[in-house]
Assembly symmetry: C2
Homo-oligomer: 164 residues x 2
């Protein structure tokens, strides 16, 4: 839509942020399409892969539904759907949460770990869709995005709960 | 997940692309949350707002469902859902496509244009969530993202169909 915008209002004032925001959205779309295709080779979507990564790196390979939603920054309903799909595939098991009678914990299985590792290897081989950027550009892009995240308060959560 | 990654594998080799890709996803998530909230003030989501922008800048303020899906890069089913919601709100009308008996065209209404303009004004006031970046950083970010898009062939389509 950046082009449409400029066509109407020229290159002045607000064209920058609009164009840049549109680019971020578009690159995210390009990456997620590629990542979904790669995860699909292992029976996963990128969202389900991310849930497996999260579980694999959590203590005991397990997390509550609430925490999964928080960490993946998705709606609790989406977290539940993701875990249900993974459970149906045998990639996680659902067990009762000892700290919460009504809550469930998702636990990654050996099959789940294997699917996660295989997807990771393929994503690494594809250099996470960013192989066209040299090391310096990679770093520059990360730093600029970090500035946006810091301003949006995105790092408060991880600072509060290191290793959570 | 970049932090988890580094914790396990250290800062070497593939941490760059993974961390940068994660940052792109995260910034997109931060922006879309903000844009949805802004569009929400005018009864829209950002996706429906984008559809209205697209229609507003199209010849006669109208487009086929297929073209809307293509231009917004969403599944045809999503395009249909978006237009149905907009039609229910009176922001677009659905008319028969004179070139395709079975197809429909979406036409933006005056109310739709007003909602689009009001949302645009609020997004501009919010500097599209990127007001923390100075002009140079804005430009640098856009250029880096453009490199990713060019490598992914993202500009072929618009070059083929200027003004479409």
């Amino acid at each position: 839509a950046g082009e449409l915008w400029r066509a109407r209002w020229g290159d002045e004032s607000q064209a920058g942020p609009m164009t840049t925001a549109t680019s971020i959205m578009r690159v995210q779309q390009l990456l997620i399409t590629q990542f979904d295709a790669i995860a699909g080779r292992h029976g996963l979507t990128f969202a389900r892969y991310e849930a497996l990564v999260l579980l694999a790196f959590s203590r005991g390979g397990q997390l509550s539904m609430g925490r999964i939603g928080e960490r993946l920054m998705v709606h609790p309903t989406s977290a539940t759907n993701i875990v249900q799909r993974l459970a149906a595939q045998g990639f996680v098991e659902r067990v009762q949460n000892p700290k919460d009678r009504r809550g469930a914990l998702a636990v990654i299985t050996d099959t789940g770990r294997a699917a996660m590792e295989a997807t990771t290897a393929d994503l690494e081989a594809a250099r996470f869709g960013l192989g066209m950027l040299g090391q310096d550009d990679q770093q520059a892009l990360f730093s600029l995005l970090r500035g946006v995240r810091v301003a949006a308060g995105d790092f408060v959560d991880s600072a509060d709960r290191p290793g959570s």
